[in-house]
């Protein structure tokens, strides 16, 4: 099969869009990534009269969070997920029940035509959507100050360490940071977060934005069913995406209105009525 292509992130500065690019990427590539800053979305959190409906089961958590910044950021991120998903599904965002898998991965209860992932750091928030399979996104400040030895000891495979050693000194930390975001994105796609041992798998750059997954010994780990990409965002962040294609060649149409088969519905409604 063809290598999965990850969509370039699109900036959506407010809840009313623009969402056209998201729909196009979802149709054309099977996935879409949206980013914004939480301060751009904050006015919506503060002014919407429907916040409780929009947060749904997350309302209690929102109310229980004592720190105002954390609370508003939490709400803004949920709004971002719901508005992004609602654009893809063609229904009002408050109809969506954002639920969490055992490992913490969010999903849309009852609407498995779309999988999603959320990441935030500093003032940046990003949401990834996919109609072909699992998706994970991770954002980090591009200039994050990290100790290379620490990353080498805790998250990089011997093959990755060797590759970094061959790079000019100035590129080593940025490259290690990129590998880190890729690993985070992949483990979020699997819904496992930090439980997945980051030294048990590795990445290798492929093309200007892409990367390939490798086993710890450096051998190829996939057959093209995964796509990975890292993009710079707003000049100061790195955004990595991991996208899976289960290979079923899913329908382009992800809207809720068309998802239940009319033949089955009419036969069931006839027997129920």
């Amino acid at each position: 099969m063809d290598q999965v292509r990850c969509a370039a992130p699109l900036r959506v500065p407010r809840p009313h869009g623009p969402w056209q690019g998201v729909k196009e990427n979802l149709t054309g590539l099977g996935n879409a990534v949206v980013h914004t800053t939480w301060s751009e979305w904050l006015p919506s959190v503060l002014t919407t009269p429907r916040l409780r409906e929009l947060l749904g089961p997350d309302w209690d958590r929102y109310r229980r969070t004592p720190d105002a910044t954390v609370r508003y950021r939490f709400a803004a991120a949920r709004l971002l997920i719901k508005y992004t998903a609602a654009a893809a599904l063609g229904i009002p965002p408050e109809y969506l029940d954002l639920a969490y898998r055992l490992g913490g991965r969010p999903y849309l209860r009852g609407f498995d035509q779309i999988e999603l992932s959320l990441s935030h750091t500093g003032d940046l928030m990003a949401v990834g959507l996919s109609r072909t399979g699992r998706i994970g996104v991770d954002v980090e400040p591009a200039g994050r100050n990290v100790r290379l030895e620490l990353l080498e000891a805790q998250i990089l495979t011997p093959a990755e360490v060797a590759e970094i050693a061959g790079l000019p000194k100035a590129q080593r930390v940025p490259y290690a940071l990129k590998l880190w975001t890729l690993k985070e994105a992949y483990s979020k796609a699997l819904g496992q977060g930090l439980r997945l041992g980051f030294k048990e798998f590795g990445f290798k750059e492929s093309g200007p934005t892409g990367a390939r997954l490798h086993a710890a010994d450096g051998s190829a780990a996939t057959r093209g069913e995964w796509g990975f990409a890292t993009h710079p965002v707003m000049g100061r962040y790195l955004l990595s995406t991991a996208c899976h294609d289960a290979g079923l060649s899913t329908a382009d149409d992800t809207s809720v209105g068309t998802m239940l088969d009319r033949g089955f519905l009419s036969a069931m409604n006839q027997s129920a009525g």
Binding site: M1, P57, I91, Y95, D97, A99, Y100, R101, L102, G103, R109, G110, F111, D112, Q113, R131, G133, L190, G191, Q192, R195, L196, G197, E200, F201, A215, A216, D217, S219, A221, R223, G224, E225, D245, A246, G247, L248, S249, T250, A251, D253, T254, V256, G257, T258, M259, L260, D261, R262, G263, F264, L265, S266, A267, M268, N269, Q270, S271, A272, G273
Partner: protein
């Protein structure tokens, strides 16, 4: 997906089935015989072991030696009802017989076997005697039949496009159209076609036609090029084209316009059977993870950080089996009312099993990428499982069954339907013979919510006798939490707008159907746990049910009480013990080869 040119004509198996022995043997014995014949999966010299099966998968070939063995064993007879000369007496038995196969290779299970059953179901359910006998003879003779689906909403590669049948000159039909991706299209001699016979949408838009095994009187069934799927690489998917294919009036299965209804009735079988067999594949991966976790450990016990994962996945497998076996038994015991449970099993369980594989990836670590015989089965199952479940299009079919029923269930069934008979929850206990013809899609009772309410009530009554924080007390609390969830669902579903006879639906019903299906999973666990009382087995203890229910409750977003520390330990102890003894990680704990 890549389409390759392949115009191979169908080739009949050269291995005539041997049916002189085993015909009367009980399912457990037939399953044991197949397990023994397939042998130790870890033996590199075993032609049916992991090494051989993974090599075939790598080469995108069906494993020839193992297919020959299954043909020799006359596996095709398992898909033919016993009154037609086969061995199919009930579906729980069938799932048991198939598990040895699915423990080793999902693609083989589909490619060799259950595809024929899924196709034949419509004929067993509504076919006339000549059709039933002809198809039975074909399958008993080692032949194959495949299913040509109609196009359903949000169709994927397997469900996209459809075949239309126009009235022919002699009261028969003329078929035209194509499908992109049909399993076994290259070697099936017969087809069960869900053909469009009316232009307008509605409940009577399609009819089922049985074609073959004889070639059509006129027109052509063209086998198109192979389609390479990323999962089930060894199974053969290809395009299929019907060009002016003539079918006589005798090809019609049931009545004209009955196709959609027939699908709703007969798909129940695949809806329960798929989770009921693919769980055997996850059973293998869990044993693989246990092996990895105890490797090089001095006390042969996994490190503490893996306890929850290993015990949790085992509890999920038991929950999945509880739900699947209950559904499979319901089709014999209460065939008029099994359809809701069947849709809920298929809706909930393939997804839960996929999550389990991802959890096990953390235990396997780097081994999870190894393509060798010891661990290669993991990645293979990760690839195969989404294809088996059919993804969103597959779940949407189940939602289309559940969603329209929710308002009526809320108003008339929940907290009202009497409890189903206890035999529903006794795996392996004798069942009345399964009769396809009794399957329905309009029953108004909801068996399992009745079990949930009943079991929660019984636990509450005995609660004073349970020590605080004991597993029994925790089980009672969890059961109450699910009853509370059902109450919330009742209020919300009763308020849904219910378009009678139409095709509209309330978008909010989709999330409610998801919650309802999880409540049914919890009910099946409680029913199964109660059904084990007095057996003296591990399943009689509350630990597995507590762990399984806590995981289902977390999926519902419910607040889950802290589990007694003994719960994980007790479930982990059982999974380690079963792995040591070589017993399956399902309700049956059957002895395994190697």
């Amino acid at each position: 997906m890549t389409a390759l040119q392949d115009t191979t004509a169908p080739v009949r198996d050269t291995h005539a089935p041997v049916r002189d022995e085993g015909e009367a043997a009980p399912a457990s014995e037939r399953a044991a015989r197949l397990e023994a014949a397939l042998g130790d999966p870890l033996d590199p010299d075993n032609p049916h072991g992991h090494l051989a099966l993974l090599r075939a998968d790598e080469a995108r070939d069906a494993p020839a030696a193992t297919e020959a063995l299954l043909a020799e064993a006359g596996l095709g007879a398992e898909f033919v009802p016993c009154d037609l000369g086969g061995r199919l007496t009930d579906l729980e038995e069938l799932a048991r017989v198939l598990r040895p196969l699915f423990r080793r290779d999902l693609a083989l299970g589909y490619g060799f076997g259950i595809t024929s059953l899924f196709a034949a179901c419509a004929v067993w359910t509504a076919g006339d005697e000549p059709q039933r006998r002809a198809l039975a003879a074909h399958l008993l003779d080692g032949g194959r039949v495949t299913i040509v689906h109609r196009e359903v909403a949000h169709a994927n590669a397997i469900l996209r496009n459809e075949v239309a049948a126009e009235p022919g000159p002699d009261g028969g039909w003329v078929l035209n159209g194509h499908k992109d991706t049909v399993i076994n299209a290259h070697r099936a001699e017969a087809f069960v076609v869900y053909a469009r016979t009316a232009r307008e949408e509605g409940p009577r838009s399609h009819s089922v036609l049985l074609l073959g095994p004889q070639p059509p009187a006129s027109g052509e069934v063209r086998r198109l090029g192979r389609v390479e799927m990323p999962g089930m690489r060894g199974a053969h998917f290809s395009g299929l084209e019907f060009a002016d294919v003539a079918a006589g009036p005798e090809a019609l299965v049931g009545e004209a316009g009955e196709g959609v209804s027939l699908a709703l009735r007969s798909f129940q079988i695949s809806h329960c059977l798929i989770p009921g067999v693919v769980l055997a594949g996850v059973d293998s991966v869990l044993r693989q993870a246990v092996r990895a976790a105890v490797e090089n450990r001095p006390d042969k016990r996994p490190a503490r950080r893996w306890h929850k994962v290993l015990a949790g996945v085992f509890a999920d497998l038991l929950a999945c089996d509880s739900m699947a076996v209950t559904g499979l038994r319901a089709m014999s015991l209460l065939p008029e009312d099994s359809y809701l449970l069947a849709a809920a099993v298929k809706y909930t369980m393939p997804d839960l099993l996929r999550e389990d594989l991802e959890e096990l990836a953390t235990v396997l670590g780097a081994r999870g990428y190894d393509r060798g015989p010891l661990h290669g089965g993991f990645q293979k199952l990760v690839r195969d499982l989404p294809v088996a479940g059919l993804g969103h299009a597959g779940t949407a079919v189940c939602q289309a069954v559940l969603v329209p029923q929710l308002p009526a269930l809320a108003r008339t069934a929940w907290f009202r339907t009497p409890e189903p008979p206890a035999q529903l929850f006794e795996p392996g206990a004798p069942l009345p013979p399964f009769d396809h013809r009794r399957l329905a899609h309009c029953g108004t009772d909801d068996l399992l919510t009745a079990t949930l309410v009943g079991a929660a009530g019984r636990l509450a009554k005995r609660r004073r006798g349970y020590a605080d924080g004991s597993p029994h007390a925790t089980l009672a609390r969890l059961a109450q939490a699910f009853v509370a969830e059902l109450r919330v669902l009742r209020a919300r579903c009763a308020a849904l707008s219910a378009p009678a006879g139409g095709t509209g639906f309330d978008a909010q019903a989709c999330a409610l159907a998801d919650r309802y299906a999880l409540v049914l999973a919890a009910a099946a666990v409680l029913g199964m746990w109660e059904g084990q009382a007095g057996t003296g087995s591990f399943l009689e203890e509350p630990a597995w049910a507590v762990l399984a229910l806590s995981r289902i409750a977390r999926r519902l977003g419910a607040v889950v009480p802290d589990l007694p520390p003994s719960v994980v330990g007790s479930v982990l102890g059982e999974v380690l013990e079963r792995c040591r003894q070589g017993r399956s990680l399902d309700l049956y704990g059957t002895a395994l080869a190697g």
